[in-house]
């Protein structure tokens, strides 16, 4: 036995305090031209020159563990292709997903080692916890791992290349 990890995503208009979207459990995650977890990517392609909706995914840790700590997040392998950039950020703030350029984001287009990835904090009440910390000793959530693909007119038609995103953490 060990920690049970569940991938979750929030979509839709920001509501409540702290702000949040509608939560879904996910097993896949594609950058698309609609803000949902169900439409196949082939049915909602991102047109050359446009951006995808930003994706707000996060992990929930339950099951059996003493402590979770030192979470990191990075684009670690693969490239999306000419004219396609990947940007992202780690945040506790939910904003309504949009196709406008993701604010305060970093360029994640080039793969890096996970050791150089972005540090992610953990909260006990949700990804929008007001006081997240670097480790938790009970059920917890990562902050939102937000990503968006941005394209130029030079982007090729059809499926892009593939990118591998990695989350690393310590558990005992």
């Amino acid at each position: 036995m060990s920690a049970t990890t569940t991938w979750l995503e929030q979509n839709g208009a920001a509501t409540g305090t702290p702000a949040h979207g509608t939560e879904s459990t996910i097993s896949s995650c594609d950058w698309k031209s609609v803000d949902d977890t169900t439409t196949p990517r082939a049915s909602a392609p991102v047109l050359a020159g446009e951006n995808s909706y930003d994706k707000k995914i996060y992990l929930k840790f339950t099951g059996t563990f003493n402590q979770i700590s030192a979470v990191k997040f990075a684009h670690t392998a693969g490239t999306l292709g000419t004219g396609i950039s990947l940007v992202g950020k780690v945040t506790s703030t939910y904003t309504t997903p949009a196709t406008s350029a993701l604010s305060s984001s970093s360029d994640m287009t080039s793969p890096i080692s996970i050791g150089s990835g972005a540090s992610v904090l953990l909260g006990t009440s949700g990804p929008n916890d007001a006081s997240p910390s670097a480790s938790q000793t009970s059920q917890c959530y990562t902050q939102y791992l937000v990503t968006q693909v941005q394209t130029t007119a030079a982007a090729s038609a059809g499926d892009s290349g593939t990118a591998t995103l990695t989350v690393q953490y310590n558990e005992n």
Partner: protein, 149 residues
């Protein structure tokens, strides 16, 4: 998830072992989260700090251990298991050079999960980290860990 290495803590008068299901002795099945068995080690260690002699990580072919038989000068050991009784070979991987106090065991599993071509993967152990930390006479934190897989 089956763990390649499991830990055993040897105190002067007690042994605490990581069970296969890694459950804490006060496991409550009605809860979505429970501590792991490492909490049992921490609970006992908190009141018997000076009694800990060895903290082992054990697999089928290799063992690693933090040796605290000299509590101020911890050692990290590796034992390769031989094919015959008595043919195990132990080497010292690291020996603390300065006296340290307030020694704590460091043990965790480094885990990774990936999103590849849009598909989420299950967590995988990418390393078992074992070591110790303590305070030297100048008040500096000294720490040594090894990562094995």
């Amino acid at each position: 998830m089956n763990l390649k290495y499991r830990w055993i803590a040897l105190f002067k008068n007690k042994m605490i072992k990581q069970p296969a299901d890694d459950r804490y002795s006060k496991h409550d099945p009605s809860k979505e989260w429970n501590p792991s068995s490492f909490r049992d080690f921490q609970d006992y260690f908190d009141s018997h700090e000076k009694d800990l002699e060895l903290f082992h990580l054990i697999s089928e072919d290799k063992d690693y251990a933090v040796d605290l038989t000299d509590p101020y000068r911890p050692k990290i050991l590796e034992t390769r298991k031989g094919s015959h009784w008595g043919s195990d070979k132990t080497v010292i991987l690291h020996r603390e050079k300065r006296d340290i106090s307030d020694v704590r065991i460091i043990y965790y599993r480094k885990m990774e999960m990936k999103v590849e071509n849009g598909q989420m993967s299950s967590p995988e152990v990418v390393g078992y980290v074992l070591g110790y930390q303590g305070i030297d006479k100048n008040g500096n934190n000294r720490q040594k860990t090894i990562t094995v897989l």
